[in-house]
């Protein structure tokens, strides 16, 4: 089976790419594919705690992230450097199962997956 890594680099709400990346991950998981998610650059903002999008206008990306576990995606990878640069508080995230990776670990992750789905 081909291994897929979805790399999500955009912040939520400003455009649809963050949501559309998650939908692709959920689809892959539903089809029982080997898929992992890496949040990087502005993508780490998807982990921000207490997101309160306007009801009826925007769907919460945090909710989609919490659904991953139900679909068998147990770990969400996130790039440490991106979070530090943005002052993201790693103690207060919208989901529990985040694995923080340093630069070298991100390189490893990219190198060891067959396909990179770039969002």
């Amino acid at each position: 089976m081909k291994s897929m890594l979805c790399i999500s680099r955009h912040s939520p709400y400003g455009n649809a790419l963050g949501r559309e990346a998650l939908e692709a991950v959920l689809a892959a998981a539903a089809f029982e594919q080997n898929i992992a998610l890496l949040l990087m650059d502005d993508g780490v903002w998807q982990l921000q705690d207490q997101q309160q999008p306007l009801a009826g206008q925007q769907k919460s990306i945090a909710r989609n992230l919490s659904a991953l576990e139900m679909f068998g995606v147990d770990t969400v990878y996130a790039h440490q450097g991106s979070a530090q640069r943005r002052g993201l508080n790693s103690q207060a995230l919208c989901i529990d199962s985040v694995q923080w990776l340093n630069d070298q670990q991100v390189r490893q992750l990219m190198a060891t997956h067959d396909h990179l789905l770039s969002f």
């Binding site: 991106s82 390189r107 770039s118």
Partner: protein, 102 residues
């Protein structure tokens, strides 16, 4: 297992190329296309990072047609190889996978 990185954003307005340069590995290639070709200028803010990456064993390419469209004919980083879409296809075959930075 190496990766081909494509970058389509100008380093004068986006952090995209800088992020890519920080995270690419020795043996990887970077292809500048569309507005990413502004990153081929010697005066780009990412030049030092780019030269470091080249020293580390990263090969850098730029799409010829995109450079030409933008009038970028001089003051280009010497070690960057101008290439075509045929070259892009071949690079994507040579590397195990492709990460698109946009």
């Amino acid at each position: 297992m190496s990766t081909l990185h494509t970058v389509n954003k100008s380093p004068f307005s986006h952090q995209t190329l800088a992020s890519c340069l920080t995270l690419c590995a020795s043996g990887d290639s970077i292809l500048l296309l569309e507005d990413g070709t502004y990153g081929a200028l010697t005066g780009a803010p990412t030049t030092a990072l780019l030269n470091d990456a080249i020293k580390r064993g990263v090969s850098v390419y730029a799409i010829k047609d995109d450079l030409a469209a933008r009038g970028l004919h001089s003051q280009l980083i010497q070690q960057i190889t101008a290439t075509t879409y045929q070259g892009f296809v071949r690079l994507s075959c040579q590397h195990k996978n492709t990460q698109s930075w946009y």
